[in-house]
């Protein structure tokens, strides 16, 4: 049996940084200026306070050195009700003109960065809002920051209409992994970009396939994913748009390769994965996944390396593969990230439609 251990993304990243030399400055080679984001979508943190933001409209991934400093440990749970209204007020507009696209917690400070659209049309302004660990909210200015960027080639021949929509991105082991979906052809786009970004490279695009029951294969787009360790090897744990949860070794993501994920769970009908994190509690490893319909699922991934993959149809509302619980208390969760070793930070849509930012104990 393999030994297994899920490492937090931050811990994994920190390990990688150590592996390439503890003193390596990830901001080396960045330029100072104002990144011209056209949109601010999925976001995550690399070590050293570097915020990675997917800009779908601009077909670019930005790495921004936030210089974020800790505001001290919070004395009480973080809860900001109607955060959409507060952000709207700060930006001088109405809540209906605000879209919160993603949240990312800086694991080194506990600050939360929200990627926001001010406006909902094509002229919408991308904004990054920072909430410090004490709950204080303000715009994170992109003026005169250290940053670098990597293009995401959108279309040959400069098509005006095609876009590769970035659906999720993660930093791990010195590379940025970007999942995307085209607004035209149905195909997987998983891109691996070495970090720090090279001058020219947009990274390698890898085809990710999904086989149902070992029989029907599609080039299935990845909706959301997390990176974690199985038997000492980093793996990508991904939820496809067609719902199964799969895993594949990170080392499989090589140029020109065709990667087929092993289905480790089928989480049921009408269950659209939105966001996921991995964590450890009481010496056991779990995956926490927000879904559109089924609330938040806690998946026990203890036996992930013993799961051979699901090959038979699952009928009658049952589930297959790894066991999971639905956390009934957590309703309306649209985004989540890990706040610290014991807490998750959630963006929750209330019944009235407004959005709350709140920390909860990891279940």
């Amino acid at each position: 049996m393999f030994t297994r251990r899920i490492l937090l993304l931050a811990a994994l990243a920190a390990t990688s940084a150590i592996a390439v030399g503890q003193a390596a400055d990830l901001t080396a080679g960045m330029k100072k200026g104002t990144p011209e984001l056209k949109s601010a979508g999925p976001a995550t943190f690399a070590p050293q306070g570097i915020l990675l933001v997917g800009d779908t409209t601009g077909a670019t991934i930005y790495a921004i050195a936030t210089g974020d400093k800790s505001a001290g440990s919070p004395s009480e749970p973080l809860k900001i009700e109607k955060i959409d209204e507060k952000i709207a007020g700060l930006l001088g507009t109405s809540p209906k003109e605000i879209l919160i696209n993603d949240l990312a917690v800086n694991p080194e400070t506990g600050s939360t960065f929200l990627t926001v659209s001010r406006g909902r049309g094509p002229e919408a302004t991308p904004v990054v809002v920072r909430v410090d660990s004490a709950g204080k909210l303000g715009e994170f200015s992109l003026q005169d920051v250290l940053y670098s960027s990597a293009p995401i080639p959108s279309a040959p021949e400069g098509s005006k209409a095609r876009q590769e929509v970035t659906t999720d991105l993660q930093f791990t082991g010195g590379q940025v992994i970007v999942a995307g979906l085209s607004n035209e052809e149905f195909a997987s786009q998983l891109r691996v970009i070495p970090f720090p970004f090279e001058k020219t490279a947009g990274g390698t695009s890898v085809e990710i396939w999904h086989a149902a029951h070992g029989k029907f294969e599609t080039r299935s787009p990845v909706r959301t994913f997390a990176v974690f360790d199985v038997g000492g090897q980093p793996n990508v744990l991904a939820a496809y748009t067609c719902t199964p949860l799969v895993r594949f070794p990170l080392s499989d993501l090589k140029p020109g390769s065709k990667v087929k994920g092993t289905t480790i769970a089928e989480l049921g009908n009408r269950n659209r994965p939105l966001d996921m994190i991995v964590y450890e509690k009481d010496g056991k490893d779990y995956l926490l996944m927000a879904n559109s319909a089924r609330g938040v699922m806690k998946v026990d991934v203890q036996k992930i390396d013993e799961t051979d993959g699901i090959t038979d149809a699952v009928r009658g509302g049952g589930t297959a593969g790894l066991p999971y619980d639905t956390i009934a208390d957590l309703k309306g969760v649209v985004q989540l990230d890990k706040l610290d070793k014991d807490h998750a930070l959630l963006l929750v849509q209330s019944e009235s439609g407004s959005l709350n930012l709140e920390s909860v104990q990891l279940p």
């Binding site: 209204e85 001088g92 904004v127 715009e139 209409a161 970035t166 979906l181 067609c242």
Partner: protein, 387 residues
């Protein structure tokens, strides 16, 4: 709860209402504040009634103190909503608030000048409070849905997507609330579509890509096993787009749009370029090259991934038109055709209505290797234009 510090006694002295792009003169002479445009034509709020003594005092205040002097916030917001981000400066003797982002049309704001904080003023001097706002101007003609593709009214039961085209830019964030699929009895079909928070738009937000839930199309997956595919063969459906869907300017569509169709046999075969019929034009004319397909293909991909090159592989410039219910690709060159050898080139990503692409079905049955797989990214079909 109303911000207590903002509308003392509910007293609002006047309301400035300035239409977008309107002149910068105040709405009326009783207004305490004025709306002015800065050098970048951004609307700013100004207090132009400082006394000479106040001007001199304000000139000596630092930027932090100035920020405390004049503030703006969205009217009727909760008490704990922060002030609107912006900077306060003294410009030509007037106190100016420049918002970080332009004031929004159709929204009202409250401004407060804490005049007692100007050095030399009486500590009990009342604040100057005023509401102001900007009218939004409707478009001359409301936004319409101009096309729904595929345009046919008989579609494969494993249909993968619709494209909705709009006459003007739309807004993000409400697409899936505004689109419905009804069965023959007018009852809404539950969860037919893949709902992505990002929403699949073109950059100009004038074309929306609506994917059916692939988990209910792909064979052998739990969603399909549990509740079956979205569409059933032989049944009639109606795609409904609500009039309430708002465009980028915040206005509803001109009208509700309904597209009725019947679901027919599944299409599980990859595209076969050998079945395409090329009708070459006469040399010396600008008549279109016509390519006919045995089935409708994806409208957007047909526009993008099919092209004509000459014998030297140089692309022929011209215009593409997709006609006959997306079964026909017409290409009119910029210059008259010359006799010679040409190639029709298509990326293998070209799909039919069920997501089958050139040489590859949407979901490949790996145990029945009847489909020859095409490994290249392009297919090339030669044709000649005769002398």
């Amino acid at each position: 709860m109303r911000g207590a510090g903002w509308r003392l006694g509910g007293l609002i002295l006047a309301t400035l209402l300035v239409g977008s792009g309107c002149p910068v003169t105040p709405f009326d002479q009783s207004s305490q504040f004025s709306i002015v445009a800065d050098a970048d034509k951004k609307m700013c709020l100004e207090f132009q009634r400082l006394t000479d003594r106040e001007r001199a005092a304000v000139a000596s205040m630092n930027s932090d103190q100035l920020q405390q002097l004049l503030a703006v916030r969205v009217a009727d917001a909760d008490n704990d909503v922060p002030n609107t981000a912006g900077t306060v400066t003294l410009v030509d003797g007037n106190l100016r608030f420049e918002p970080r982002y332009p004031f929004s049309e159709g929204l009202t704001y409250d401004a407060v000048l804490r005049r007692s904080r100007i050095p030399g003023n009486d500590a009990n001097m009342p604040d100057v409070l005023e509401g102001f706002g900007f009218e939004s101007v409707p478009l001359e003609s409301p936004t319409k849905v101009t096309h729904v593709y595929p345009s046919a009214d008989e579609l494969p039961v494993n249909l993968l997507k619709f494209y909705l085209h709009f006459s003007a830019p739309m807004s993000r964030g409400e697409a899936y609330q505004r689109i419905h699929l009804l069965d023959a009895d007018g009852k809404e079909v539950a969860d037919p579509f893949l709902e992505l928070g990002e929403e699949l738009w073109d950059p100009g937000l004038q074309r929306f890509t609506l994917l059916f839930d692939p988990g209910r199309i792909k064979r052998g997956l739990k969603p399909r096993e549990e509740v079956g595919p979205v569409l059933e063969e032989g049944n009639r459906y109606t795609l409904v787009v609500d009039r309430e869907w708002t465009d980028a300017a915040g206005y509803p569509l001109a009208a509700q749009v309904r597209k009725s169709f019947v679901a027919l046999v599944p299409d599980e075969a990859p595209l076969d370029v050998n079945a395409w019929k090329i009708e070459p034009p006469q040399p010396g004319t600008r008549e279109p090259l016509v390519v006919r397909f045995p089935e409708p293909l994806d409208h957007s991909l047909l526009e993008r991934v099919v092209r004509v090159v000459d014998a030297d592989d140089a692309r022929i410039p011209g215009e593409v038109a997709i006609t006959d219910g997306e079964t026909c690709w017409r290409f009119r060159p910029e210059r008259a055709w010359q006799a010679g050898e040409y190639h029709l080139v298509a990326d293998t990503t070209l799909e039919d209505l069920a997501g089958n692409s050139i040489g590859r079905a949407f979901d490949v049955d790996v145990f029945e290797p009847v489909q020859k797989q095409i490994k290249t990214d392009l297919v090339v079909v030669p044709f000649a234009i005769g002398p």
